[in-house]
Symmetry: C2
Subunit: 207 residues, 2 copies
DNA sequence: GTCTATACAGGGATAGAC
DNA sequence: GTCTATCCCTGTATAGAC
């Protein structure tokens, strides 16, 4: 059972802990998940978990970091993955991973404490999204794109609405996050509007 | 020392508990405030607090309810307090009450659990804001007001951006919540825009 | 109605043995 | 790396004093 050279046992264990933890958050809710629960699910003792993570809070922050790596929202000016459809796709996908939105939202609140492990995560995340949005605008020849608001303000608003809709969605899962953001983008970034080849359904004051 | 007829001792005590609790949230952060801390500050034993509230969670939910009563955001179609400037004013005021935004945000997340005391609070709150916004639109002769999006979608977005900006503000207090919402309202509810060019920038197109 | 005293189950975290 | 054992803190239920 030789482990793959670049995939030592410790890393596999660590990943397994993160997977089991997210599963539990999805089925029981963040507040009801204890280190003991996770340990039981993994098949070890609670103290063993703290060998891989400094604290429970850090453990959960790592779940978000790993998710972002998978989603690849990193600011590569080349492929510009910040396009409208990619953003909405990530949103829709998150809504299908039980617990991930609850986890993200909970940590977004706890991160207000500068000492919380998630604090630096959210600071870095917002800066990354800002740069991605700027790179996207630059990719369009720096044209204002017909946007009614400055790029920084627009980015801040889109991020805020996304987070806020997630809070609403947690309370009422009937809230259609993607459709709402879609409508907002129509207004804030009109040049991004979907081609909608056949027949344009709406026509707000386009450029 | 006769207490005012309509203000029995129990109510005063209850209010004091809520005040001390909010103070502690402001100075120590929600997560670091225990019932023992509050009890100590009030000068009683922890169990005494549970004479006024069913649980710690209910205690904190009551702080939000009391705030809303003071702010008077209730849907009185008469005065339509949902006007732009009134809304922004409440936002600015909240930013000056240490802890209230942290408390609101934290409960907004915990309220995802239908059994949490804050669940019904947030459901009712959103429905109330929806009705207030609708009443406001009706007050303007039912004219679409030149809004690029339907009233319900607009309301949902404004609530979401408010909540989302609060999350950003908790992490970075330099975020200007009011200014950002102000800019967004310019776009989503253009008829509300202040006659900016020459005249003073205040004066919303109120009733 | 208001409160104290007490007790309990469960939480995260730590120290040190293996 | 993983264990056991332990520590201190949490929310809160209960019983009873005033």
């Amino acid at each position: 059972m030789a482990h793959r050279g670049i995939y030592p046992k410790g890393v596999a264990r660590r990943d397994e802990i993160l997977d089991r933890a997210l599963e539990l958050v999805g089925s029981k809710g963040y507040s009801n998940v204890s280190l003991r629960d996770i340990a039981e699910r993994v098949g070890v003792r609670p103290a063993a978990l703290l060998h891989y993570f400094d604290s429970k809070e850090e453990l959960f922050t790592e779940i978000l970091r790993r998710r972002d790596e998978r989603d690849e929202i990193s600011p590569s000016a080349a492929s510009v993955p910040a396009s409208r459809e990619a953003y909405l796709q990530i949103l829709r996908h998150n809504a299908e991973v039980p617990g991930i939105i609850a986890l993200y939202s909970r940590l977004a609140v706890d991160a207000a404490d500068p000492d919380h492990p998630a604090h630096s995560y959210f600071v870095a995340r917002h800066e990354m999204l800002r740069q991605t949005a700027n790179a996207f605008a630059d990719g369009h020849d720096g044209v204002p794109l017909g946007m009614p608001l400055p790029i920084d303000v627009t980015t801040r608003i889109v991020v805020a609405v996304t987070d806020g809709l997630q809070l609403q969605w947690l309370i009422d899962p009937d809230v259609d996050m993607a459709a709402t953001i879609d409508a907002l983008l129509d207004v804030l970034v009109p040049s991004l509007r979907a081609p909608s080849p056949p027949e344009p359904p709406r026509h707000v004051g386009d450029d």
